[in-house]
């Protein structure tokens, strides 16, 4: 065991964990004041459900011995993490249980990312059901495809994208971002538009929250990307540099589009550019030079800034642009490796560095395979939930705000006279009542 490597991966795991509450603020600031708590709760719910499933069988599906074709790990091999907790199991130079902790955070954030597509209108219970089923049927297998590498020494067989196709996805451009983006598109289509959309697309209620969230995401993303080296070494260093400059370049790309198209560079644009750049460098961090990372970042920022307009043309309400940022940014990062990969950085050359079309083809197949798989299964899952327990809040609840109707809370009670007093029977009022069910409003005299 290399304790330096183990220490870095443990630290990275904690960094990646922080991304999900960061995402909650990033998304929460972008919705209206009446649904910010629900937005945050979808991220917290993902941490709860997916974390539990990960130790029960998720890790085993993703990283258990392949059951055939590189499609799925054996769900029973590490059921309840059996065999992994006595400290003898190793993954490279680090204990496997450290790797389990690190990868758990990836599963959590991937599910949470999807929630941006269904802001203001989803019921919380069905979201938790979706989160658990989606992690099981889509994320855990996709993580197996992409992150699970063969090991000839132990006879371990992993996933098909990593080992048969040999596409490069360093930290999850396909398994995390294309995957979440495609699922987001499916959910936006099944749940449908918010009331009054697109006439009222919903003005963000707290831009400083959005920036706070983007900052936490960027910070945590150093663990996400550089931690994926699974070692405290020069690769981790290169990835960290690339995660810095690609992101800065993406801010510039996004703001340039805004300045030309809309007249002003906006704070929301800068925060969005941060995420677009981070998404794009995720698969490519260990394959491109820092100059290549700048080119990739500018491209991702500019193209994502243009792509978020698609939903208005095509008529789907992907409320917080999960498709425009994560699906499109993930595609750019994954496919551009085929052009920008530099032998000096990662040992493989893309088209621009004399490597021919071979890598570009592998990258494109890997990206499209995850996109198609995720979209189809997500669509079926969402339709099944819609047909059974229902997924969407009632129209009148959407008008009142899902914070009030799903959680019986309001985010802000800042200044002003007391308008609430304690009630003895919190659950007494009928759910879905159009009046505040829990808080008795004090009548004014």
């Amino acid at each position: 065991m290399d304790s330096g490597d183990a220490a870095w991966v443990l630290t990275s795991a904690a960094l990646v964990m922080l991304m999900t509450p960061g995402l909650a603020f990033f998304y929460g600031g972008m919705v209206r004041a009446k649904s910010v708590l629900n937005m945050i709760m979808m991220s917290l719910g993902s941490m709860a459900v997916v974390g539990v499933l990960w130790v029960l069988y998720g890790y085993s599906i993703a990283f258990g011995q392949d059951v055939g074709g590189g499609l799925l790990g054996d769900p029973t091999e590490f059921l309840g993490l059996r065999g992994l907790i006595d400290g003898s199991a190793m993954s490279g130079s680090i204990p496997t249980i450290v790797f389990v902790a690190f990868q758990a955070m990836f599963a959590i954030i991937t599910v949470a990312l999807i929630s941006g597509a269904i802001a203001d209108r989803a019921r919380f219970g069905p979201w938790l059901v979706f989160a658990g089923l989606w992690a099981t049927l889509v994320y855990f297998p996709a993580a197996h495809w992409v992150f699970s590498f063969d090991d000839e020494e132990t006879g371990y067989v992993g996933g098909w994208i990593a080992n048969s196709l040999e596409a490069i996805d360093f930290a999850g451009g396909t398994a995390v971002h294309i995957n979440a983006g495609a699922a987001a598109l499916a959910l936006a289509l099944v749940l449908g538009r918010r009331r009054n959309w697109p006439q009222d697309p919903g003005r963000p209620h707290n831009l400083p929250f959005v920036v706070l969230g983007a900052a936490l995401l960027w910070f945590g993303w150093f663990g996400f990307n550089a931690g994926s080296a699974l070692a405290a070494d020069a690769t981790a260093g290169l990835v960290m540099v690339n995660t810095l400059v690609a992101t800065g370049a993406a801010i510039l790309g996004w703001l340039l589009v805004e300045r030309i198209r809309d007249g002003h560079a906006t704070t929301l644009g800068a925060a969005s550019g941060i995420v677009a750049g981070l998404v794009a460098i995720t698969p490519a961090g260990a394959s491109v030079s820092p100059v290549g990372a700048v080119a990739l970042g500018v491209l991702a920022g500019a193209v994502c800034a243009l792509a978020i307009g698609l939903k208005y043309r095509l008529g789907y309400d992907d409320s917080l642009d999960v498709v425009g940022v994560h699906l499109v940014g993930g595609m750019i990062g994954t496919v551009m490796i085929g052009l920008l990969a530099s032998e000096e950085a990662g040992g493989v050359a893309g088209l621009f560095y004399g490597g021919g079309l071979d890598l570009l083809w592998r990258q494109t197949v890997g990206a499209l395979a995850v996109l198609a798989f995720s979209f189809v299964v997500s669509l079926l899952l969402a339709l099944a939930i819609k047909a059974t327990i229902g997924f969407r809040a009632k129209p009148e609840d959407e008008d009142l705000g899902v914070d009030r109707t799903e959680h019986a809370e309001s985010a802000y009670a800042l200044a002003g006279p007391a308008t609430a007093s304690r009630t003895e029977s919190p659950g007494a009022a009928p759910s879905g009542s159009t009046d505040g069910p829990v808080i008795a409003e004090r009548s004014s005299r």
Binding site: P198, P201, R203, P204, E258, R261, D262, G263, H264, T266, L268, G269, S272, A305, I308, G309, Y312, D321
Partner: protein
């Protein structure tokens, strides 16, 4: 008694208060208000989507005065709030039947 109500730009408040202080008029109520008049709203852009902000934020200043001082107060407020641009606001005066000071029970002119 009269109630002088003024809808003014936020930036005018300090000058209005200083002017009324000089007049010896003590006390005012200030609240935030939104509305529109001849001043056009503005457009904000979030991720490429334009939002028309039609209701502009102003301050509502309310001052209770004895009718003998009404013209002085109006003049002071108008002078302090005027920039000459569209959107300076409005001042109006309404008659007030009774005023009571809560602490002492004093009424009308004594309560102002």
């Amino acid at each position: 008694m009269r109630l002088v109500t003024a809808i003014v730009r936020s930036a005018a408040l300090d000058d209005i208060r200083a002017g009324l202080d000089r007049l010896g008029v003590l006390g005012m109520t200030v609240s935030e208000a939104r509305g529109y008049g001849r001043q056009k709203g503005r457009t904000e852009v979030y991720r490429g989507a334009g939002y028309a902000v039609d209701y502009i934020t102003k301050l509502r200043v309310e001052v209770l005065v004895d009718e003998t001082r009404t013209e002085d107060v109006i003049r002071t407020v108008v002078e302090a709030a005027r920039t000459g641009e569209v959107g300076d606001g409005k001042v109006w005066v309404t008659p007030v039947e009774t005023v009571v000071r809560v602490r002492t029970g004093e009424r009308d002119s004594e309560a102002i």
